[in-house]
Symmetry: C2
Subunit: 83 residues, 2 copies
DNA sequence: AAATATTTGTACGTATGTATG
DNA sequence: GCATACATACGTACAAATATT
């Protein structure tokens, strides 16, 4: 059973990793994901989106570059509290 | 013929992409690569280092994140002039 | 103008290592 | 020790932007 579907259009001119990053950013913006809460694991995001691992990691990298999340090896990626 | 050897130790605790990023950053620091000059292409860096393309790109991403270079698709990666 | 080559971008898949729980 | 989760590194294929012929 798939945790939750995240629809990605591979034919869109918007790259798949960007679509996923936008989706997750929206989750944070709207408060569906709150400060200090973990994002779904890479495996969960792979299952939910159908994307490859590298593509999922690329999406998370965007969020990290934008200061929205922080990642800790072995633990997970967490929503960054407002500065 | 290989443009120029860049020695990378895959057994080091320092990741290969970091070793390459450090090497290139040093080239910029010392002025071997100057402002607005292009870095070697990804293909050149692959040949010179023996690393895979993804690893080379990861190294360049570090430089970009640190504001040392800017990349333009179809053209190349250029040393960023001082702000 | 058009075709070709070069260069970076995206996406896939695999394997192994490292850190945490 | 074991399971989970992120990190590193390899390789492949095709797309898109730019430069060259």
């Amino acid at each position: 059973m798939v945790a939750q579907e995240i629809k990605i259009d591979l034919r869109s001119s918007i790259p798949a990793y960007k679509q996923l990053a936008d989706y997750l950013a929206a989750q944070i913006e709207t408060g569906a994901l709150r400060a200090d809460q973990p994002l779904p694991s890479e495996s969960d995001l792979i299952d939910a989106s159908g994307l490859a691992r590298g593509t999922v990691r690329q999406a998370i990298a965007v969020l990290r570059d934008n200061g929205l999340v922080v990642t800790v090896q072995g633990r997970g990626t967490y929503v960054r509290p407002e500065p």
